[in-house]
């Protein structure tokens, strides 16, 4: 399982929890780990100038600078590296999501691990705005396009990849969710744990005054259950350790609540929005909201490439 893992890190405290998970998983499965850092964003037109993502300073980079950043990352993760040495550290300049996706493709990785800042409320100054929108956009773009599962860790409570007993698969019945389901199922089989197939019926329209009759809601809940049976259970065959649940509400709230109730160790979802505007991405899709609020890691899976054989 997970022969190659790309741990995309900002090399700052916001990725500490993700680092713990990345090293944990790598150690557990003896994976080849690539700690990957996009060190700066191109600035000043065609020149070699970049804005260092950690310091905000404009610097011109070359091999020496990159080497220096690599050394810094080695220091940051000295403890983990002592414990697990099958790790390559790589730093490149560029637009973070582009370079993460490029590296994931080039190295044919089986899993991407990322951190996400949970402190969205903190600081209204511009720097944090820019930083946040970069994180939001990076997460959005990587989660959408990556060919392998993307595991996102935002909170300390979510930073343990240990003995697994419950996996929650949240579905929106999209095509991408088929891959997410396959990943959840295969993972549940491999780790011998319970799979919760969950759908949240979106009734957030009540807030705009569009009330639904309870009968209508009940009917939709029934429909969703049937859909789950038809779509997923037919593929499940010999695996018995699952249950089905459909709740109504605001989808991200319901998923987080459900996962909490079930003591979930992992939430798996598809993330396939087409919104690429960073401003809109900041407002967040269901997945981003789940990532920021869940007590466990969240895996985004959108493509079938890396989920069939775990």
């Amino acid at each position: 399982m997970f022969k190659k893992i790309l741990f995309a890190t900002t090399a700052s405290p916001s990725c500490d929890y993700a680092a713990r998970v990345a090293f944990d998983i790598a150690k557990r499965y003896e994976s080849e780990l690539i700690a990957f850092h996009v060190l700066g964003i191109p600035s000043r037109g065609f020149s070699q100038s970049i804005q260092d993502v950690r310091t905000g300073e404009t610097v011109s980079y070359d091999e020496d600078y990159i080497q220096w950043v690599v050394e810094e990352i080695k220091n940051t993760y000295a403890k983990q590296l002592d414990d697990y040495s099958k790790c390559i550290i790589s730093a490149v300049p560029g637009i973070p999501h582009t370079e993460i996706l490029r590296a994931a493709r080039k190295n044919d990785v089986d899993l991407i691990v990322m951190g996400a800042s949970a402190q969205q409320e903190d600081g209204e100054d511009e720097e944090s705005f820019v930083y946040r929108s970069i994180v939001g956009r990076t997460l959005q773009s990587v989660a959408k396009a990556a060919r392998c599962p993307v595991l996102v860790i935002s909170r300390p409570a979510a930073s343990f990849w240990g003995g697994f007993s419950h996996i929650v698969f949240g579905t929106d019945f999209s095509k991408a969710a088929d891959s997410a389901f396959l990943f959840s199922l295969n993972l549940a089989k491999a780790l011998d744990c319970k799979l919760h197939i969950f759908h949240a019926l979106d009734i957030s329209s009540v807030h705009t005054g569009k009330l639904k009759e309870q009968d209508e809601i009940d009917e939709q809940l029934r429909d969703a259950r049937n859909k789950i049976r038809k779509k997923y259970l037919s593929n499940i065959k010999d695996f018995k350790n699952y249950d089905i649940e459909v709740w109504e509400g605001i989808p991200y709230v319901e998923i987080v609540k459900f996962a909490r109730e079930k003591f979930a160790d992992l939430i798996v979802m598809a993330h396939h929005t087409k919104i690429s505007d960073p401003e809109k991405a900041l407002l967040g899709s269901t997945m981003e909201q789940v990532v920021l609020r869940a007590n466990c890691p969240v895996a985004s899976v959108n493509h079938p490439d890396k989920v069939a054989n775990l």
Partner: protein, 461 residues
Amino acid sequence: MPEGKLCNRKLVDTKEFLDALLSDKSGEQYYEEMNHLDVDTAKLWSTIQKTFKSRLKTWLEICAHCGLCADSCFFYLANNKDPKQVPSYKIQSTLGEIVKRKGKVDNQFMQMTMDTAWAKCSCCNRCGMYCPFGIDMGIMFGYLRGLCFSQGFVPWELKIGTGMHRIYNAQMDVTTEDWVDTCEWMAEENEEDYPGLTIPIDKENADIIYTVNAREPKHYPQDIAEAAILFHLAGEDWTVPSEGWEETSLSMFAGDWESCRMQVESVYAAMDRLKPKRMVVTECGHAYRATVIEGPYWAGLKSGKPPVESLHYVEWVAEALRTGKLKLDPNKKIKEPVTYQDSCNYIRNAGLGDCAREIMSYIAEDFREMTPNREHNFCCGGGGGLNGIGRYRVQRNIGLKVKRDQILKTGAKLVIAPCHNCWDAIRDQEEVYHDGIRWSFLKPILLDMVIVPDHLKPKEE
């Protein structure tokens, strides 16, 4: 001291030299060496005698010092009408002096000349439109940059740029493998949303050969994907060359004419090899100028034209929308006030102003012209290589003010800027002045509103 290790009259045609330049942080050693670089006055004068011909001679001599060019220059306006920013003064006090002194100028003079040629002129050619004699200081500064370059007095980043072109045939270190790989990657990443999408490489006899700016494969591959999707939706028979895909020319900004020729010949070779009907270049102004307007002369083509008919991206978009190859959802037209940044290099210098207006009429409900506009429009403030030169950041930022005032006056918060340089300058302007302005290329805007024909839609289960 004669020539330095980094700052010298040598051409950057080895990877070792290029790497040495790159490893010099912000060009510190480079500019320090420049302080000691001798001027080869004999060579300078002989170059002038060979290349300073009747048009430039006439221009220098007939300038009546009337000052009508003053108000045409955005640097003059942005610098409180400093007389030292009057175009005729700027060229007379540099090129004029060098000619008058028959090339006998010293290091200090050459540094002053360099600072003038790159930080006080973006070669936008606006002054040429206002001079009663039609004297174009932009052209003369282009020539002067060539003289500076031949003497080793060129901004550090542009010296690196020439090296990139000489070694990679691209303005950045993007190899053929990198380029091809990026195209394959982008096709892969989008084929699910757009079934059948491909980026055909080296296809012969296609209707369109598409060429780009190296920044796209290097940092913004999404741009290539967007172009591919739009060609795909328009049903175009198109291709990209595996070699000769880079249209830009930092060498043109640097005044390294030999590498300008090498670069443009690589593009023309791709045309000759693949025999496309037409060429389309991405949303880049100077790329078009280099390959379509100046290039044929660098390459010695008697026709004065590239080997095949060559279009700027806005020409293709206008045509695709006009003929209905691309259909837009009328409900998705841009509702908010929006303005258009006329790039000097393809609007003023190639007359494509109508294309831009035609496109805006299809995509915007409230299009607001900047004043002045079209061929009279001001440079974004970052043209001619200025965006990338650290040494002139302060001067560049002051120059941005004119464009900023123009944009703010329109009341629009969104600027369509189909030119990499303009796009950068407006982004930087926002970074410096914080006006809440947004900027965009055409491609993402079009992708938001294009109607995907039924037979090209992904099949949902």
